[in-house]
Symmetry: D2
Subunit: 395 residues, 4 copies
């Protein structure tokens, strides 16, 4: 069984990590903790869990942290943990977007690996600085574009790499949700509030929150690089400061001997009926693929001229890159948390390799700071294009 | 039963109609004939079935036509039939696009109602002339945008009209197919050949063949009018002269008290895995709808904040406009031919009203020459926008 | 196009047929008429449309019948039509079950081919008499187990015949509906009333109405013969005289070199959420199949150890027996009426062959009086088994 | 967020548990460990991981256990751990079936709570002894019928309890798999080998392995008790000693004022195309439900006479019993491991209550030793009925 492979590392000791953000009332922090815990690879030993001191303290207590390692700020935490012989080896940054950059900077400079939520920063300039810093420090930087770690997404990527689709011609990616159909931030929804506040979220609303996921997924699976885009951004709910819908046309860079691929990207938070509808479709000269996040254990594959196949996680036809991230047999569905935990599993393997002074093994794959830079470039290009009446805009 | 209502008109005598095109080797002509026959409302009595005299003769014989009413050309047919006391009351024009305009003109001028395939013509200018001629002659003009006559499409339209979705914000429509993934016209596929020949098809390839269906469906259901579009057209298969893929952004005209709706339209004939994947999704401030042509008896409806509902043709919640075009009970699927036959059923009702000098009853709905003009405007705007690097283009 | 093949026979003249039952207020009569009309093979020229003289007359008028050929009874109709030089060649019997036997008898004895609704009769004894009479008269007898004529059902049958599933081990067939969940016959539903009246329906309620369809479909696709069954019949709605649910275990006769196949059959008219949920699943030593009537253009096929395939009507992998009953291309859904019309198409081919003194061509397949006998044996075995506390009962 | 509630207990210290079975090469042991770990409630501190001493040692080392707490047998482990002040509070028994009884007995007698795989034992007699022992010792006994802990299964159960389906009339449950279609135990598949060996598995093959899951799920959701059954068991693969397919008719005990419910249960390990196809359908006088394990975040609900609804985990209409076992928002799928972890979460709550001398809170629900007795009664009744040619057999 796949999960038996995981038992090994434990005897070498789990990885000590800390968390920035993720205190009481937060959402994604709890997801990170489950993901880190699932394979027994990580142990949470420190935190700066909230900018509100009382909430930080209560959250730390609830999580069973040593009070001495519950910090008032990430700056303090980075400094203190770097000095401890049993200090954290990695930090998870799960704050609103505007804290990603300064927090990541502090930990990288303290020599601590970083696992960070997307989007990487609030501006492309910040993102580039971070990339330079990662380069300079040589520390690992793992961006939690968690959807890339679903086994059937890996399967799709390997199928494209192996040429099963031929030359890629078309990429259709969408990420509709409906939770911002009405003005829920007015109603005090904390998640909605910071996501629609330009100071905390950056220049993109839905663009940054989910558009970047969609864009990253398309790149991850196809291996294509975007040349330019034409974007139409809207805020349908009166008074909303950031976009809640983006309609985007995509042009990818040509690969040798094939015309450039084209695509469309739709992300929305005002599309009633969609809870979390990330979907990717890729079409090439030899076949097509379709993957839907809400039903992640399936991958539709049509070799042109043959019947459509429904590939399943762990089922017949599973490729190596999918199988190595699978915990239970076919027909026993895995979900969002397992996909998220795969990011932590890949991070653990990379951190263990770093402990020994090695690069991560070749089959270890995770989104990096460079994907974060690309995501910020996407956000800024969308905003720029939309302001210029949807003009085609280079990334 | 719904179908009992149909039995009535037969005692008043079926409608005599003729056909232009649709001889041996053609596809859509046979569909029209089944559609005309299904409810017993029409009888085929004349034809100019092929521009090839031998094929015209053989086809007429096969269909049991009186040899005297098998004509060498539509011009001859229009003239001759207009003179007969038992001449045709209506003609179905099912030729390649370039013959639509002159044939329709000939029959309208001869005082004969026209049922015509889409797209209406090969240029917008022709289309406008035809609209003027319809106006002038007062004859009926029925454009076979057949997808508008599926019962659940009518249901969707009525739900929008009744305000169940609130203000419409987003329209996502797509029409992917895969049959032109490879260069099938080189292999002698007759359907492919004329569709990718600008002289016969007009300026649009996939744009005219299926893009117009998608666009018409979106307008039909939402009642929105398009303000402008930005289009990116491609021909992925080397040597193909017309587009085989179109990615389009849409901006609709604002309705009172609501921001303008936005949309995306994708049509493709190079998307492996899609046989005939027309799909429409509409999202408003109060709910969302999804309809898929391949599974036409279902309509997904989500009132915002409530569980998703799967409405079925003839099932609970069916509205009057859907029920009146339904032949068998829920759970007994209807398909493409029934939807197409609904166009003929509506046409029959309008022709019978015209016999009596009346306008069609209010609940009779079918695409007209004006929808055809709109479709040609769409094609030309797509081509124009694409040539100007996807600039936003007014219709 | 498939439908072009149909145009041929018309020049030889359509088949003249009459109808018994199917007057105003009836359901299945209208379905038969559309089915007969769809391919232009039949023309309705006579009828005994209702046992109520006034309704018979009004119905005939509505259908445009010659008043002289609207009869007060099927006895009279059989006699009179047999004498006419232009008399009917075939009759469609669409009455409640109790009239099937005497009506069919009358027409067979008058030398007229019979197309008859299922179940064949109200007792097995009657059914056997009818089979003997068919044998004796040499006339055609077509039983409208219409579900056997869906193209993908033919595809499934051919796949089993070709050995793609290996030895058949398991047959799971079900036919749930929900329209009798409450006591609708009390509310005056005509369809419900006669179906739950033992005098008109025979010994089986759901067993006869839909159980026979399910049983016939299982036999048709697998080619297996039933050895015995164990049945548990219920009437869940108080006061209902016939069963509204049947749970049945099946044991088939062994084929050479393989253990006997087993199965389960469930039919219900009190299962909320099912409109017309006929579904067949067949499993063998090499693969499995699944077909669902509500989505009839699909057939799921899993060769053991390979990914699941979604076969489509007219799509890649379509076999000859499916393609010959297909009217429009893949992705253009066909439905219940097309499936029903296929029975009439097969009947037409057989009748035309009979005109010329031939047996039907080999690829012509339709349910016969022998399937009707088998269906009546099934009903009686179910009732007998259920009365003996579900004891295993030979057919 | 739901998962924040879980953080609390950690400060009171996680629950110390041990494991019997689950060494290298085993499947379900790894699943239990992930499930125990997911919410941070349990810590693994002892084990008797294999009857093979070398494998036991290697497995313990791999899992990071203190070598002093890696035991050669469960008997030794129960004795030693009971004496330690930091001894285990609970044990997970994940061995082949034949060890469940003696192992559980040893730990119960040592005063240690038991979490045990199903089926409970290899005979009903053993199961009853165990139930008596649980009663006598007062320790907790949690049977891992994990499918009962999926949120949408809890939702279904609460909907039935609230009367939304009216009187339950029909239960259709099935659990098809295909992994034993061929003789894989001959090929050295360890999972297959013990499951088809009567000495290790008991009298039931598929009956015990998956039939009990199906039966338990039906009881759990409907609250019905089985009166009797009629079973037809088969071994389709030559040489297989235990059943690989069971077709069963069910009769439940009547509830006041309603006729007794009926049902069908199918479980198979030779049904190609089914990976792990557990499915439950329940129909009552007011509505119907359908739940499919492979897509566990959905629950189909049809109130009779209204459109079908697709309820989602965490979505609109979620009831309290479902929401309390949910970790991430709607649209972020949860899977098999989360469902399994819910059993551990419920167990943790019960163990913590027991620490304080309390009964588990009312909303805590998990399968107990009594469900295990019921499961063994089901297995034995199936085998007995099948041997008596499918005679109706009381449980």
């Amino acid at each position: 069984m796949a999960n038996d492979k995981l038992q090994g590392p434990i005897r070498y000791g789990p990885i000590r990590y800390g968390m920035v953000g993720g205190g009481q009332g937060a959402f994604i922090g709890g997801v990170h903790r489950i993901a880190a815990r699932m394979d027994g690879e990580f142990v949470l030993v420190a935190g700066a869990l909230s900018s509100n001191p009382e909430r930080a303290k209560a959250s730390a207590e609830e999580l069973g942290l040593d009070p001495a390692r519950s910090y008032a700020s990430y700056a303090e935490m980075a400094k203190a943990e770097a000095k401890r012989p049993d200090g954290i080896e990695a930090v998870s940054i799960v704050t609103p977007n505007n804290h990603h950059f300064p927090a990541a900077k502090a930990f990288l400079e303290a020599g601590i690996h970083v696992i960070c939520d997307k989007p990487l920063a609030t501006t492309l300039a910040e993102a580039r600085k971070l990339a330079a810093l990662v380069e300079k420090t040589g520390k690992l930087f793992v961006l939690t574009h968690n959807y890339t770690a679903y086994p059937m997404v890996r399967q799709a990527r390997e199928m494209v790499e192996r040429g099963l689709l031929g030359d890629i011609r078309l990429v259709q990616v969408e990420y509709p949700q409906d939770w911002l159909t009405e003005d829920v931030s007015a109603a005090g929804n904390k998640q909605a509030s910071w996501r629609s506040d330009p100071k905390q979220a950056g220049a993109g609303g839905a663009t940054g929150d989910i558009g970047t996921h969609a864009y990253n997924l398309a790149r991850f699976v196809t291996g294509l690089e975007l040349d330019s885009l034409a974007a139409d951004l809207d805020s349908f709910v009166p008074g909303r400061l950031l976009d809640d819908n983006l309609n985007v046309l995509l042009r990818f860079r040509a690969k040798a001997n094939a015309p450039p691929a084209k695509g469309m990207l739709w992300a929305s938070q005002v599309a009633p009926g969609h809870e979390n509808g990330l979907k990717l479709r890729v079409y090439g000269s030899k076949g097509g693929l379709e993957w839907v996040q809400a039903d992640p254990n399936y991958l539709w594959y049509t070799p042109f001229g043959e019947p459509k196949r429904l590939l399943t996680r762990g089922g017949a036809g599973a490729l190596a890159s999918a199988s190595r991230l699978t915990r239970v047999p076919a027909g026993h569905p895995e979900g969002y948390l397992e996909g998220f935990a795969n990011i932590y599993r890949e991070a653990a393997a990379a951190i263990r390799a770093a402990r020994d002074g090695h690069k991560p093994p070749k089959d270890i794959v995770f989104p990096t700071v460079h994907d974060g830079v690309e995501g910020m470039a996407f956000i800024e290009a969308c905003v720029r294009s939309s302001k210029k009446n949807g003009a085609w805009t280079k990334l």
